[in-house]
Symmetry: C2
Subunit: 459 residues, 2 copies
């Protein structure tokens, strides 16, 4: 049996079900591979032969004149088994079965999937899918989905494994718009006829390019093995898990999506939590948490400081922080003295630090930078949430960014209220500076709590 | 005792603590009132006399040559009681005590606040605050905060009552950037020395301009009365409540913010829920829910339909919907036949309706409009969530908007994934068309569940 690593590092590739019709997936995929600059040899298989985008098409895989590592199948389920046998004869190591219509689609499809499974077992070929966009390796420029473009292939450290068809493509499009979110590898699992969540996580655990793992799963086939692999992985890198099918109705829907089987979510959830896996409540939380890990250092504790212009926002933040297991830091004496230099009202310089209305005296820049410096230099503070007003120009935030860059040892999260246009301008500036920024602080607080949990469980 | 209504409809106004220094709040406020076009007579009180922005300043309120409805106080706590006595002699009906430094700031401040309370009782003057940005009436152009500008005063139907200082100003700035979120009245409550949450809600219940009420509260003084007023209000308009101080640490912080006292949140929460008050989990949820009520009709039931390109997103949506008490609609026979016209794969035309990959056959426009029409015309469907891909141009969404406008009887929510730039372009287009749009469907589902709950409890 070949390893997942061998498949992920495929140097040559054939698309079975290639097409000369530019509207068809079998054409779009080859165009995509050409555009993304995959360096290995490529060919297509199509009964009519010919070529598309300069890539030769052959009538069968047997006719391809070079050794084939990976075959991507865009062909009807009923022909997949026989083509898989051809692939074995050709010496193909792995296949991505993109086609839908297997176990997720009913009795006949389940039969095809069982046939595929038997052939895989007897030949040692590894398979992703069926019903998946397949795999991405940004080190080699390999991407078996036409949803992926060059921009999404800029190499980074985020490894993704997802039991989905098209969702990962959409997610990649979205997150690649963030300059700090760059991908290492993607493993699309689909119906998991062979490579499953434990295989994928095990591969990402050992993959040196991958520094953080994000997973979307609809079921977990072998809970015991997955928990074991997860526990080992967490010792080396964070594992973020988004789970679909958490409710009975959601679980029923996974059956017709990726032929998943419901498991007792509560028990598994407890075991994964113990293993240190970070459970994400939503796609939004997954993305925000990836940004947190990518852009800020790990917190050394759970004591946070809040800086705000608004008592109400501070109180809602404290509620959120308490619910997430965080505590308000007690400031050291030196910090209290430094805060007193810029905030005259004693009740405003506790934690939360309320910069309004005292900032009217010294101005926003001096007040906010002095506060931030003092808090960054207080060892009793493990993370800072700066809840501010958006301004029409970004200038007021420049000095704050400098203060943070000069003291990079603890995470600082910004959130901004104000006129949306101003929020957008300031958000873009802070994001460009690599500082996590959200409209409301609640999500940032959740991200910090995940990072704190990871820093505890990974030790 | 004057009524809250009389104060909210003040026709003349004096700012006590007016300033000629353009940096000071007492100057910024008068400039604001001039800019926002308050039509009533205005004056300032300042020991030095003179004028600012063409508004005359007098040495005391007694010298003001016209009858004064409302006095806004920007003066130190210790002089507030004696000035209040002067106001009573002048015949002032109401005051906004903007100044901080009362009960929220310690023993001395508490003493001042008690003095104020005694004078109010003996004179019948009504007071907002202390420690508040005060009040807004978009019918008359009255706004006692320099945070409010002309754009925020375009009259609308959202009434806000908030126990906060500056937060409401920030919230107004933010929500006024949404074309469909327009304000009727704002009542800033601060420390609630007189006008409290029940007075404010009672006023907004009767106010004809107000069609929906949003509240931010840190404590509820008279739980029994508030629940009664809320129950009556819900019969006429939705009440959305954001509550700060829900955790012990949050509740402690409210003491130094608005001198609030912790109450047993669980019991009150139950009573308010029974009264039909919609509890908001975050500012984000509050804003999204306001948009839902403003832009879409009330749902007639809790059966939803999902249209999506991604099974994974559909499953996460079903999980969210189930958690929020919603159910998946069963499509009628006619609907199933109509869906079969554009979606060949039977397993893709259940609920969720999966437009991928069948839309490759008929194109996105035809596929999506046919589906949306069929679902909008199925009486068993009470709300539709359209989870789509963002496109670089907005054209594909135009026909969908037309379909919705021609069949305006049920709520349709969009969410979009894709490249952020594309998401932004499509979001702006749909928002301009008055269609609720979010990046992820979870928040839209929560909004729908609030609207459904309101439609049940208000009957």
């Amino acid at each position: 049996m070949y390893s997942v690593k061998e498949i992920m590092e495929s140097r040559t590739l054939v698309v079975i079900g290639a097409s000369r019709n530019p509207q068809k997936l079998g054409s779009l995929l080859l165009k995509g591979l050409k555009d993304t600059g995959f360096q290995g040899e490529m060919a297509g298989v199509n009964p009519g032969g010919g070529e598309v985008y300069g890539i030769p098409l052959y009538q069968s895989i047997g006719e391809v004149p070079f050794p084939v590592d990976l075959a991507v199948m865009l062909i009807p389920p009923k022909v997949v088994p026989s083509v898989l046998v051809d692939c074995a004869q050709k010496g193909v190591k792995g296949v991505v079965i993109s086609s839908e219509g297997f176990a997720e689609a009913g009795e006949q499809g389940r039969h095809y999937q069982e046939e595929v499974q038997a052939i895989l077992k007897s030949t040692g070929i590894r398979a992703f899918g069926p019903n998946t966009m397949g795999i991405v390796n940004t080190e080699t420029g390999l991407a078996t989905s036409y949803f992926v473009d060059k921009n999404m292939l800029r190499p980074g450290t985020i490894g993704i494994a997802a039991q989905s068809g098209i969702f990962v493509g959409a997610l990649l499009r979205y997150i690649s718009s963030y300059k700090d979110l760059r991908i290492s590898k993607v493993l699309g699992l689909g119906n998991k006829v062979d490579v499953d969540e434990s295989d994928a996580l095990s591969y990402l655990m050992d993959d040196e390019q991958t520094r953080i793992v994000a997973m979307y799963l609809e079921d977990i086939r072998d809970g015991k093995r997955f928990v074991e692999v997860a526990r080992e992985t967490v010792k080396r890198k964070p594992v973020l898990l988004l789970k679909g099918g958490r409710t009975p109705a959601g679980a029923r829907a996974t059956a017709s999506h990726t032929a998943s089987m419901a498991v007792n979510d509560k028990i598994l959830e407890g075991a994964l939590h113990q293993a240190g896996v970070l459970r994400m409540g939503s796609i939004e939380e997954l993305i925000a948490t990836l940004i947190g890990f990518q852009c800020t250092p790990l917190p050394r504790g759970n004591r946070i400081a809040l800086v705000t212009y608004s008592g109400a926002q501070a109180i809602m933040s404290i509620d959120a922080a308490t619910a997430d297991g965080l505590e308000l830091a007690h400031f050291g004496e030196e910090t209290r003295e430094r805060l007193a230099q810029v905030i005259a009202t004693p009740s405003k310089r506790g934690n939360p630090v309320d910069i309004f209305p005292d900032m009217m005296t010294h101005g926003f820049e001096k007040t906010s930078t002095e506060i931030l410096e003092a808090l960054l230099e207080d060892d009793g503070v493990h993370g800072i949430f700066f809840i501010s007003f958006a301004t029409p120009e970004t200038e007021p935030f420049g000095p704050l960014v400098d203060v943070i860059r000069q003291r990079p040892a603890k995470p600082v999260f910004f959130s901004l209220m104000g006129i949306r246009k101003d929020v957008e301008v300031c958000r873009a500036f802070l994001e460009e500076c690599g500082i996590p920024i959200s409209l409301f602080p609640e999500m940032a607080i959740k991200v910090f709590s995940h990072m704190w949990r990871y820093s505890v469980t990974s030790q």
